[in-house]
Each structure stands twice: as C-alpha cells, then as structure tokens.
C-alpha cells in the first residue's frame, strides 16, 4: 500500500541560521494516526506546517520532498505544487487544527460563517446546501443546538466548545489527512478527553489519517498507531506506538518517559502526622465579583471562590488543584493580600513558630512591608514575568533595593548566592532575559522570589508553561529549596500528576468550592468525590496497555445534580466539608 503522506529527508532553516529541521523522514498510511512527539524547539510544528506550506516567510526548505497520494487523485509533490493548487488542497484534502482554540478563530465572524467558508471555497455549493452540511457537522461534533452555534461568535463559547468548532471546520470537507497541532494542550483534562475522543470517532467514521503533534506521552499512548520522536530538529526514534512506548530504545525517548509526571500507584495512606505550627491559614475565605458591563445592564455577581479553608504547615506544601475557572488563582491572590476576601473571611500569617499571627487583610503599613518580604510569588509564565529591559542583576537586586537591605556590594553577593541555589551562575548577571530558555527563566523567577529570604512562596502554575523534562527539573529544584531552607509552598496547579509529586496536602477545587481535601496518598488511593474521580480518570498515562476510555471520562463529573445522592447539591449551596477519615475531607452529606 502506498502511504498517504510521505515526508523524506526534509530540512528547513530560518534565514542563514542552522537548520531547525534536519533530514526528517516519516510516512503516514491512510487512516492511520501518527504522533509527532517532542519538546518545544524540536521542530515538530515547523515540520507539520511545511506539509501545508504555511511556514513563516523567513523559513526556507533546504531539501527533501513531501509526497501526497490521495486515494482519488494522482500522487502530488507538495513542495513543488503551484500556490493555486496548494490552496485548493488546504482545508479540502488536508486540514489543520491549531493549539489555541481561543485565538485561532476570528472573534468578529460568526462560527457558521467561518466553517461554511471551507465548503464555499472548495465545493460548488449553494449557501443553503453549505449551511445544511455545516449544521450536520456541528451536530456530529457534539453540539446539542447546531442552529445556535451557527449564529454564535467564538467568544461566547468555552475553550472546549471552540476546539469542537475548530474540529468541525477541519472536518466539514471530509479531508483525507488531519494535522492536529497540540490540539488539547490548552485544555483541561476532561475537555482534553472529549476532544481526543471526538477526533478518534470522526477518524474511524470517515477513515482519514491524523498527524497528532504533541508533547504529552499520555495523549500519544491513547491515540497513536505509530510514533515519531523528535529532538532539536532530528528524528530520534520512530516506529509503531506499542514498540516505541513499550520499550523505548533511544536515550532521549527514555528521558522523556522518565520525566513524564504520572499519578503514582500508591498503597494505603500512612497516617498523617499532626503538627500545630501553621504558617498560613485561610479561614472561610469567599470572593464574589460584581460585573458591570456597560451602564444600562444589570450587574452580575460572580462567585470566584466560596468558603475556602486551607491550613499550611511550616515547611510543607499545600496544593490547590482545579480546572480553569475553578477559583484557584483567586485563592492565591487572596492569600498574598493582593485581593480582599468578602466579609467574614480572613487570612492569618505566622512568620515564626509560636508567634501571634498577623491578619493579612488588616495589616499596618509596617506589617505589610514585613509581610511582603516574607511571602513571595512565582508566576506561571516565565516569558512575561521578567522585565525584558532589565538585566538579570537589576531584576535580582531590585527587591533588596525596595526593602533597603544591605549595601550595593552585599546585594550583588546575595544575588550571586541565590543564583547558585537555583543552579545558575554569576556570569549570567549582566545578561537580559531573552538570552535564556524557558526553564532558565523560571529558575530566574524562583531566584528573584528567594532574594528576600521569604518563608512562604506562592507558586501559581510554575511549571505549566514548560516542557516535561524542564518541568521535572523545576519541580526537583522547588523540592530541594523547600527542604533546605524550610520554605512553605502554596502551590496552584491544574495538573494532578505534578501535585501528586510535590504536595503534602491537596485541595481539589471545582467552580470556587473545595470538594475534597486530603494528603496525596489518601486522595489518589481512595478518591471519594465524583469530581476528583473524574479528574484522576481523565489523566492520560503514557502506557499503551492502559488506555483510558475517552468517551467515558469525557463526560467528566457532570453537573452536581447528576452525582450520587450524598454529593448532590444545587448552585453554591454545597454540603459542608466532612472529615471522612483523619485528614481526608470531602464535601458530602453524611
């Protein structure tokens, strides 16, 4: 059988620089799913874009060929096809889904218009026939009310729904090859399962081939027939998925596997030791926002978090886990005093053991300055949280400048010392942030937070913008520093596997409410709440022999009204958190 797509010896470079893709070869059989795996900068995105020839203007294809053999048409050399012929291929026989559903659709055009455009371009269809076909596709990708979707704008829908619309757009012309570039990276786990399940179903239905670009080995294990592992523009390893995932031969693939975080298989939990040295305590913290949209509309009240109680022991890590919009970041901001909780809630901070705690939202100016020294934050995006116009030295010494600590020379020494803690050295002080990779930048922002010798670090998704192997390093670093310096972390994340590894206690949040709170052992050994169970089930694992049932986990936990009797509630009138086992609290009726 001839392959549908045959890429051979492809090399691509930008300008006069070294090639970013070197001698890459792979082929895709009709109906097959090929996973292109690699970390950022591995050239996987450039490779798949070259198939459609939608590369940036500065990219040049140095060598190689891309042959496309449609079942119906002749074999075509995609690199030497005329631009006009290429256009008629795009969206019709080869279509593409992009990573960010939020930004990949035009916000100013109705979804119906954007999707039917594909048919109007490639099929000789009347507007009404196109609309009929699009509505059918909308129904097929799981929209309950296609007519409404037709009239909607992208910003009226959630991320998962937008990605569905993107899939509808890619599928409407029934292509033979679908290229999905990190289609689920920006989505929550349950939504990810929905989208992956949908792609799989549609694939078996119309028999198209899929190139799945991803960095997530769990996704690969659940989707792919064959795998190509790329690193720095080269193919490291390729072959059928069971072989590559079951017994990775290349060192790089092995490294990727080792770094992939997974929820541990745990034995029964050990009893949590009880200590009474809390450093941070959130008591009954709620936050509601009133949205005013223009002067003539009724203000809306949005509940970001509702009656959250968290206790952080000194030297420990408490993690708050939840999908986007669950209110976890609001909790972090309240804990640092960046937001004020609603009436009735308070945050207590105890800088040293056995001292009287400070109320974070009722501090005197002097106390506030002290608090700001002792509690620091590490942000999610290392690319935008360091000022691009400040040298590292300036970034590192600025906190000490502000708090007027030490002489100039002492500040510099401190900066060097802190840089060494995070595995960087003094020679980097004179550089600007753009000279560093994502992982190095995250090290820098951790170092910046450490310059004031804080006792509490609030980490807001510190690893979610990083590659898996870098994520692993940063987590190690955070653990080392915590243990060496006796820091305490409030750790915000959406990734259960990351949390499983670093946290001493985990609070699972859903729509502003903590539904379950326990040690990671207890939580992963015996999750009680349906929402926690759904989250754990939806986490794909890098093991071909243990696929997850995409269609089952895609349902998620559903609405509270569909839960078992003891968990059921409506609105925010949730039952109280009840301690079912020592240290294991679940929101349920007893």
């Amino acid at each position: 059988m001839t392959p549908l797509l045959d890429v051979s010896d492809l090399s691509i470079c930008f300008g006069a620089a070294d090639p970013v893709v070197r001698n890459v070869s792979f082929s895709v059989m009709p109906g097959e799913t090929l996973a292109l795996v690699g970390e950022s900068g591995s050239g996987k995105t450039i490779t798949c874009r070259s198939v459609l020839r939608i590369l940036p203007d500065t990219a040049h294809i140095l060598s190689g060929s891309i042959q496309f053999a449609s079942e119906t048409g002749p074999q075509m050399d995609l690199l030497h096809l005329s631009e006009r012929a290429m256009r008629s291929l795009r969206g019709d026989q080869i279509s593409m889904i992009f990573q960010e559903p939020m930004r990949s659709l035009s916000p100013l055009h109705r979804l119906g218009d954007q999707v039917s455009e594909v048919l109007m371009l490639h099929r000789d269809m009347s507007a009404s026939a196109a609309k009929k076909a699009v509505l059918e596709t909308f129904e097929r990708v799981g929209f309950p009310d296609p007519e409404r979707v037709w009239k909607s704008y992208p910003f009226e829908m959630s991320g998962g729904m937008r990605q569905r619309a993107m899939i509808a757009m890619a599928m409407v012309a029934k292509p033979e090859l679908l290229i999905a570039d990190e289609p689920t990276t920006a989505l929550d786990v349950t939504t990810q399962a929905q989208v992956l399940g949908l792609i799989k179903d549609l694939q078996s239905e119309i028999g198209m081939a899929v190139i799945l670009v991803t960095h997530d080995l769990g996704v690969v294990a659940n989707m792919a027939d064959s795998v190509v592992v790329m690193n720095k523009g080269r193919v490291m390893e390729s072959g059928p998925a069971p072989a590559v995932l079951g017994a990775p031969a290349h060192g790089y693939t092995q490294k990727l596997f080792a770094a992939a975080p997974a929820i541990p298989k745990v034995a029964a939990p050990t009893r949590a030791e009880k200590r009474n040295d809390t450093i941070l305590e959130l008591r009954n913290v709620s936050k509601t926002y009133t949205m005013r949209a223009g002067g003539w509309r009724k203000p809306q009240v949005v509940t970001a978090c509702h009656e959250v109680n968290l206790t952080l022991e000194r030297g420990k890590t408490v993690a708050v886990v939840g999908e986007s919009g669950s209110g976890k970041t609001t909790c972090a901001r309240i804990a640092l005093g960046a937001e004020t909780p609603d009436q009735g809630g308070e945050v207590l901070f105890r800088p040293r053991a056995n001292e009287t705690p400070i109320r974070v939202h009722a501090m005197s100016p002097a106390e506030r300055i002290g608090f700001q020294r002792q509690a620091q934050m590490v942000f999610q995006d290392p690319y935008s949280s360091l000022s691009p116009r400040m040298r590292i030295q300036q970034t590192m010494t600025e906190p000490m400048d502000i708090h007027d600590l030490g002489t100039k020379a002492e500040r510099c020494d401190k900066a060097v010392e802190v840089l060494e803690w995070v595995g960087l050295d003094a020679s980097m002080l004179t550089r600007y942030p753009h000279a560093f990779s994502g992982g190095q930048r995250q090290r820098l922002s951790i170092a910046r937070a450490l310059t004031l010798d804080p006792v509490l670090l609030v980490c807001d998704e510190p690893t979610s913008a990083l590659d898996v192997s870098v994520q692993e390093q940063i987590l190690c670093l955070l653990e080392n520093i915590r243990d060496r310096m006796g820091l305490s972390y409030l750790f915000i994340s959406h990734d259960l596997a990351v949390v499983a590894r670093i946290a001493d206690e985990v609070a699972v949040m859903r729509q502003g409410v903590v539904v379950e709170q326990a040690t990671p052992d207890a939580l992963f050994y015996a999750p009680r709440h349906p929402y926690t169970c759904a989250l754990i089930a939806a986490q794909p694992e890098p093991d071909v022999n243990r696929p997850i049932d995409l269609n089952l986990v895609a349902k998620g936990a559903g609405s509270p009204a569909s839960w078992p009797e003891e968990f059921r509630f409506e609105g925010i009138a949730a039952p109280a958190l009840t301690e079912l086992a020592p240290g294991h609290k679940v929101r349920c009726h007893v």
Partner: protein, 342 residues
C-alpha cells in the same frame, strides 16, 4: 432593540457631557479679570470719550454682564430669565458679539456650514487615503511599497501646514489653474445656492482639504499599518490560510476587519483635532470658516461669540465620538454581546 436602547443611552450621556462642557467653557472664558465691555469702558474713560461710556454701561446691564458669573451662565444657556426674559442658547439665541456689534448668529451663519464642509471633506480625505495605503503598506511590509508609503507619510507629518498650503496654492495655480484663497468665487458670496456656486466651492475645497488632511492621513496610515501587522501575526490568520483562502480575500475578510476598530474609534478624535488645527490654515488660506472668528473672539474676550464657537466645536466632537461608539457596537460583536458571554 438592544442597539436602540444603547443609542438612546448614549445620546442622553452626550447631552449631559455637553452641559458639563458648557459650564467649563463659560468659566474658562470668564477666568481672566474683566470682560469685553469693562475693558472698553476703561479705554473710553482713559481717552475721555464720556458719551461712549454711557452706551457701554447700557450694554453691560442689557447683557447682564454686571451679574455674578453663575447667573450670567444661566442666562446665557437659557436656564434663567435675563433682561430679555427666557432667551438663551436653549431657546435658540446665540448671543451678541460686542467686537462685531452684531448678533453671533449673523457672524457665524455661513461660516458654520462651511466649517463643517471643509472638515468633513478633510476627514473623508483622511480615510480614503489612509485606508488603502495603510493596508497596502502592511501587506507588503518591508518592501519598497511600504517604505515609499512611509516616506510620503513622514513628509506629510513633518511639513508645516501653512507652508504646504502656500506651495500648493502656487503650483496648483500655475499648473492646474486652481483658485487661490477663499472657499468660493467672490461673486457667489451671499448669492443663493446654484450649480455654479457648488462647482466653485468644490474647486476651492481641493487645496484646503489636502492641506488639513495630510498630517491626519499620514498618522492614520501608520496606525492602520501597525494594527494590521499585529493582526497578521495572529493565529486566526493562519487558520484562514489553512482553509485555502486566497491572500487578497483573506486580508480583507479577517485582519482588516479586526484592524478596523481603532480606525473607526478615531472618528471622534479626528474632528476636534482638525477643527483646532484648521484655524491657522484657515487664516493663511483665507477660508471663511469659524476658525478666524474664534481667534479674534478669544483675543478680545468677546465672550458670547467665543462661547458659542467653542460650544459648537464641542458639539461636533461629541457627535463624532457618539457616531464612532455606535459604529463600534454595530461592527464588533464582542462589544455588542459583551454581557451575554459574561
């Protein structure tokens, strides 16, 4: 329905703003000590012309300049009875110009619609020039097209308007037989509207439109180019490319539509900038707009004339912003449906 409600809401806020502006204008005009008549009286006394003093004193009471400022304001606007009863701006009385010794409406009369005409022509010119050039410069960025558009743009921005006006008059007259100065042939002044008069006005409009519009067009073009370049790198452009859309159609349908917002939002800013900018040009070109009268009125503290002209400019500005707000609501669903998604 929602749009209608928004339009009404927007109209009411516009009236309220206009009211606040009227207070500001009146207070600022009255900030310098004295008024036109007291200055005149002092001058008459100094030169010993006693009979004039009596007339000026009479005018002072007649136009209520002897009352406190807040009372003068209420009378001017028509919210309190003055010496002539309830007769202010609201009732359609624009006041009296002391400098020209005639009612304001008579002085301003023709100049009003000529001002609107000149500035509308300039705004139109700005949009017609900036739109294609800006899009072209962005689509062909960093080619000779882009560079020459930028060069022409910077020339337009950097050349002083009056210099440009003089040059254009000279060469326009020399090579194309364009008229010099004024907004119409003198023989049509005060004549009723006729086809010839319209033709004459249009012919006279060419140079002023160009002079007033160039710098605005250049700035607008650069802004549109920058917006377009931002939009061109957005992922939805790539999506459209992957659909198989042809380049020209893609450009017009997606990025241009997005880059259009700031373009529309600028209508409100453009009008006042042009009117105040065109004062000098009007003096140089001898245009019968309200610009020159405003200058005289402000210099001599002719408060009712100045106040009226400033009110008129404010009204144009507010109408401009209202139009751009309403257009934005029509153009951008994110603004229209902002509440529905929230």
């Amino acid at each position: 329905m929602m749009f209608l409600r928004y339009a009404i809401y927007r109209f009411i806020t516009m009236l309220l703003t206009l009211w606040v502006v009227s207070i500001l204008i009146f207070v600022i005009i009255n900030l310098p000590p004295g008024d036109y008549l007291s200055n005149q009286i002092a001058e008459l006394r100094a030169t010993g012309q006693a009979e004039g003093v009596a007339k000026a004193e009479f005018l002072r009471t007649e136009y209520a300049l002897d009352r406190p400022v807040w009372h003068q304001y209420l009378i001017w606007v028509g919210m309190a009875p003055g010496p002539q009863g309830w007769y202010g701006l609201i009732q359609g009385n624009f006041g009296w110009s002391f400098e020209f010794d005639r009612p304001v409406s008579e002085i301003v009369g023709d100049a009003l619609w000529l001002t609107v005409l000149v500035n509308l022509a300039a705004v139109l010119f700005v949009y017609l020039v900036a739109l294609p050039l800006g899009v072209l410069a962005a689509a062909k960025s960093e080619t000779w097209i882009d560079y020459s558009a930028a060069f022409v743009g910077y020339l337009g921005l950097a050349t002083p308007n009056f210099l440009l006006a003089l040059m254009l008059f000279y060469y326009g007259n020399k090579y194309f037989d364009l008229p010099i100065g004024g907004l119409m042939d003198p023989r049509f002044e005060g004549e009723p509207m006729s086809w010839e008069k319209v033709q004459s006005v249009l012919l006279h409009l060419i140079v002023p439109t160009f002079v007033i519009g160039t710098s605005g067009a250049a700035a607008m073009m650069q802004r549109l180019r920058a917006n377009m370049l931002d939009e061109l790198s957005k992922p939805y452009v790539e999506t459209a490319k992957a659909k198989g859309l042809a380049p020209a159609k893609l450009l017009a349908k997606y990025p241009l539509r997005m880059a259009f917002n700031p373009f529309v939002a600028d209508i409100g800013n453009l009008l006042p900038a042009m009117i105040s900018g065109s004062v000098l040009v009007s003096v140089v070109l001898g245009l019968q707009t309200i610009g020159p009268s405003l200058l005289t009125a402000l210099k001599s503290q002719d408060q009712f004339l100045a106040g009226f002209i400033l009110m008129f400019v404010a009204l144009l500005t507010l109408i401009g912003t209202m139009i751009s707000d309403l257009l934005l609501v029509l153009l951008d669903p994110r603004i229209r449906y902002g509440a529905r998604s929230g």
